[in-house]
């Protein structure tokens, strides 16, 4: 057992190192910093400009603004965690053609994928911090470091990231079976979360069936609890559609739904893995 854990840790460590090499060693450090700042801010400004067009200023609807801004900022984790896990399969299979060797090695592919995704999650973390800082400094987002419920935030992040990575691994399994435009899987699933999880607008805006879908997804609860941790007692939950639930209840929903998704994800991954081996797709080339 001890050896197994040591082996997984070793795999995780080296996969994380490899992921970081791929993520960061393509340019100078200052260009990398510029890239890490410009990209998230530009992405955030799209929804901010849309807000400003309608309301005429940040103070038009400050609660909604905070709701939207925080959701959009933390959503960066979702996109990157999903992409970071899924893209590994495509990249290793089609471009570097190392998937065969990695697959054959006596390591856990599951752990390897999670390790590779860590770099993207680390970069996402940087992007979220930068986005939040920009919001505070340039747009008057009412964040105060001393007011943040750090314990709640840490717990939420731990469960949330685990959930996101496991979903990513399930999608990675599906990528075993799809062609290069499986990039659309990421876009699609991330888009689904963007739509149904209350990322930039309250759940109550959706039709009833949409709200039901949203309530079944752990990301909804993760975004809600994260907002509450960042702006406790701000009334931000009053517009989310989940305001009737306490923090404990939201955390419980998050834990339960994340657990279900984790089990589902592992199942999907294992089945897709089996199918890929059966159909000889582990080293297929699908570029065109």
């Amino acid at each position: 057992m001890k050896e197994r854990i040591a082996g997984h840790w070793r795999t995780f460590r080296w996969a994380s190192w490899l992921g970081w090499q791929m993520e960061a060693n393509w340019t100078n450090w200052y260009l990398f910093i510029i890239y890490s700042i410009a990209k998230p801010i530009a992405g955030t400004l799209i929804v901010v400009i849309m807000y400003l067009i309608v309301f005429g200023g940040v103070t038009g609807n400050p609660t909604f603004f905070s709701y939207m801004y925080l959701g959009n900022a933390f959503y960066i984790f979702i996109g990157q965690a999903l992409f970071g896990t899924t893209w590994v399969i495509h990249e290793d299979r089609e471009h570097y053609q190392t998937l065969k060797q990695i697959y054959m090695a006596p390591i856990s592919l599951f752990v390897y994928l999670i390790g590779r995704a860590m770099a993207k999650i680390a970069v996402a973390g940087m992007a979220v911090i930068i986005t939040l800082a920009f919001g505070m400094l340039a747009l008057g987002l009412p964040l105060a470091l001393l007011n943040i419920d750090w314990a709640l935030l840490a717990l939420a992040m731990l469960i949330g990231l685990l959930c996101m990575v496991s979903i990513g691994v399930a999608l990675a399994g599906i990528t075993f079976l799809t062609a290069k435009h499986g990039y659309g899987i990421n876009e699609g699933v991330a888009g689904m979360f963007y739509l149904f999880c209350g990322a930039i607008f309250p759940l109550t805006v959706l039709p009833d069936w949409g709200q039901a879908v949203g309530r079944a997804i752990p990301i909804t609860y993760w975004l809600e609890i994260t907002r509450r941790a960042m702006l406790p007692n701000s009334g931000i939950s009053s517009i989310s559609g989940l305001g009737d639930y306490s923090n404990i209840q939201i955390l419980s929903f998050l834990l339960l739904s994340a657990g279900i998704f984790l089990v589902l994800s592992i199942g999907i991954f294992k089945y897709a893995d089996y199918l890929a081996r059966k159909k000889g797709k582990l080293d297929m080339s699908t570029s065109y």
């Binding site: 062609a179 080339s285 699908t286 570029s287 065109y288």
Partner: protein, 320 residues
């Protein structure tokens, strides 16, 4: 007279911004005549692929000049491209989603070959290279060797005047290699104006196929001549091993023209002769001598320095 390849004082350096530049080609001179099947032998890192890349207009030289089919590789690349092609060993080019035929047809279109003509040529080549049964198989389903055959076929589909083959038989089985070598030979010799530049790690292949071979190491040509003449650089003598039925007056062999030494060992019903000659044309006198003494030839071998011996002597080590 236009040479197929004309290289003068060619140098190619890499790097050099933060560290000492590495010299891939070092004032290299080379001439390849039209109609030659020319071999390039060298260890890994000798500069073979760098040279081919320059000659195929994929890389610019640092200094010196190179002409292909009379055109400068730097200034007249557009005139060279319609008339050349290149095949590398272990290529992964093409699209896995397409069939063998479709991949080949696609590449033929990049050279402007009319569709129908391309299809006919492809079919003919698939037959020649024993790949017809895989013509409609998706590339991602065929074996490495079959993929390499497809790559070789791709080289010929465009009917180039000059073809660069960079280890074309890599990964191929004996039969497939034989088919390819046969085709290379007949393509060059059977068609006027076709030239082939071949790099290979199989000495036997270079020996068998090439009109001339250049040995390259550290970016320089160490020797360039026909395989026969290269072997003579090592040793001017040829040794014949002949097994015959016993015959009289064995000592008379030493007086034959060109024979510089011999040994004979009779063992029951067989005599093993080893004759060292200055000139292999002496063999006719040797055979006449044996025939006149009623000796029946049971087996006959010619031993001479191999190209590998030449390579080792020139480069200082074998091919890695």
């Amino acid at each position: 007279m236009v040479h197929a390849i004309e290289v003068n004082d060619l140098t190619r350096l890499f790097g050099g911004k933060k560290t000492e530049p590495s010299v891939a080609l070092d004032h290299l001179d080379l001439m390849v005549e039209e109609g030659e099947l020319f071999g390039l032998l060298g260890p890994n890192g000798a500069g073979k692929t760098t040279l081919i890349k320059i000659l195929s207009t994929l890389l610019l030289p640092s200094s010196g000049s190179a002409k292909v089919l009379g055109y400068d590789v730097v200034k007249e690349a557009a005139k060279i491209r319609p008339r050349i092609n290149m095949v590398s060993g272990g290529e992964t080019s093409g699209y896995g989603l397409l069939t063998v035929r479709e991949n080949l047809w696609m590449f033929s279109q990049f050279y402007g070959i009319p569709g129908r003509e391309a299809k006919t040529t492809i079919d003919d080549l698939l037959v020649k290279f024993d790949l017809l049964d895989k013509g409609d198989a998706k590339v991602r389903t065929i074996s490495t060797g079959q993929r390499q055959k497809m790559n070789v076929v791709r080289g010929f589909v465009t009917d180039p005047d000059l073809l660069y083959l960079d280890e074309p038989t890599l990964g191929l089985d004996v039969n497939a290699s034989l088919i390819i070598r046969e085709h290379l030979r007949s393509w060059v010799k059977g068609n006027k104006g076709k030239t082939l530049l071949l790099t290979t790690h199989y000495m036997m292949e270079a020996d068998e196929l090439c009109d001339r071979v250049a040995i390259i190491n550290n970016g320089r040509i160490l020797a360039c001549d026909s395989p026969k003449n290269l072997k003579k650089l090592i040793s001017k003598n040829t040794t014949f091993s002949i097994e015959t039925t016993p015959f009289g007056d064995v000592n008379g062999l030493s007086s034959l023209r060109g024979v510089t030494g011999y040994s004979a060992e009779t063992n029951g019903e067989h005599t093993m002769l080893k004759l060292v000659t200055e000139d292999e044309s002496s063999i006719s006198d040797i055979i006449s001598y044996l025939t006149q003494r009623n000796a029946k030839i049971i087996s006959f071998n010619k031993n001479e320095p191999t190209l590998e011996d030449v390579f080792i002597q020139m480069v200082g080590r074998g091919l890695e």
